[in-house]
Symmetry: C2
Subunit: 300 residues, 2 copies
Amino acid sequence: MNMISNFEEFISIARQKGKKRIVIAAAEDEPVLKAIKTGIESELIIPILVGNSLKINEISNNIGLSLSDIEIIHEENPAKAAVIAVQCIIEGKADILMKGLVATAPLLKAVLNKESGIKKSALLSHLAFFQSPYYHKILGITDAAMNITPSLEDKVNILRNAIGIFHKIGIELPKIAILCPLETVNEKIDSTMHAAVISTMNKRGQIDGCLIDGPLALDNAISKEAALHKGIKSDVSGDVDLLLAHDLNSGNALYKALIFLGGAKTAAVVVGAKVPIVLTSRADSEDSKLHSIALANILT
Amino acid sequence: MNMISNFEEFISIARQKGKKRIVIAAAEDEPVLKAIKTGIESELIIPILVGNSLKINEISNNIGLSLSDIEIIHEENPAKAAVIAVQCIIEGKADILMKGLVATAPLLKAVLNKESGIKKSALLSHLAFFQSPYYHKILGITDAAMNITPSLEDKVNILRNAIGIFHKIGIELPKIAILCPLETVNEKIDSTMHAAVISTMNKRGQIDGCLIDGPLALDNAISKEAALHKGIKSDVSGDVDLLLAHDLNSGNALYKALIFLGGAKTAAVVVGAKVPIVLTSRADSEDSKLHSIALANILT
């Protein structure tokens, strides 16, 4: 396979793989429980709910989620709920970790704990996929939510995390653009220096399993026509699977532009732990949460 | 007036103001001459073409642009053509400067020259307007093309340039969001520190003629609903006229995302010189060039 054209494919691949066990840290959150309900109905997940059982019961009643076959672990303190959820992963009781009504910081603290955590790669990073009405296939962007100002080494690790995910979803040689404001190297613009280095590392086999080009501005990454206009020859231009953003400012702006000013749907996971982490935000749509759960299902 | 809903309004306002004189530096470029032709047909401009007259004649013949009433100043060297075009502005022969087939660097060199240049403000900055199918009015973004890593002081100057433009197009109190990856201040994320400072400067009247809020992430800037979801109270949220990007990486990614992954139309000018500068790129559509010319017309 060399492309996935929409999120329905995510859901159908996930269904073929069968139900996965997902543990939710601080599950007492209506949008999260709604997503869990849809995930169950779509036969994607078997949940374990860690959190305030009273509130979980109340919300579940309101939204029509039957708790009869669902394991609930009572813990009122959200940070402690996160620790318990991570413990479920370590004990092999669950395949996916999902954030509920707990802040990102305490959840990541539990994940990254050197003794009781589940960190696996050099760093954790965020990988978002988009289904855009203006692009012919699923487009990935990393990192739009976690790493503030990644160094060159961090960027390589962020890429390695993402490349592993592409391989898992069946895209053997993802085409990657290192996103910059322009397509030439400029010593004053860090992103272009990093892009040149990373492209060369790919050519020399230091980063493999993918095809990388950069520096590329977004237009030249996305549109073959725009690249040709500027006389840019690139093996990835116009058919990019993944954009590496320079930093959190640019990644986050791009991520939110696609959703709020681009009509795109999204699915996202945090990569780099022993299991995929679903870390959706309150503002994400129901759809987006379901797609993220389907994605996490595929990745286990 | 408190909003402009689409670029047709730009064109009709420009028409009311009458024709303006535009000088093109290195006009021997087909896309630029096509835009000039449309600008003449739309009764927006009277051009002066500086550049290689042989090539200008040839292209004009091909695209059906009649040169009979147009002043042409022959100069084969593009950098020298830029100097001559700037000279036309100084001599009062033209109201708008437009970039033709000359690189941005030599054009700006001519503009910024201390003796023979036309710099007016503390710095030059790029201001782009967007007509997006996902937003209810024209949205500005600055700076997506010129300033690489603006300091706090630079950002204030970039804002002052943009605020002046909003006043000129008739929006008396533009609502401005200082764009960040999140809506709280984080000492590790420069953009949020700058945003807090700039917002306070606005409250204290150090930056006036506008309503500024920040830090705001793009979702909370653009969508009142997203802001309410997160419990953010903001006077600008959901009705923002202008987004200040943190740097060139984020501004440029956002600018190109709106065009290439958001179905938006754009018009842009460089601000901070004695006259508006139209600095479109080869990849810009015909429409975009015409809208930029209309915008520049309004600003003179």
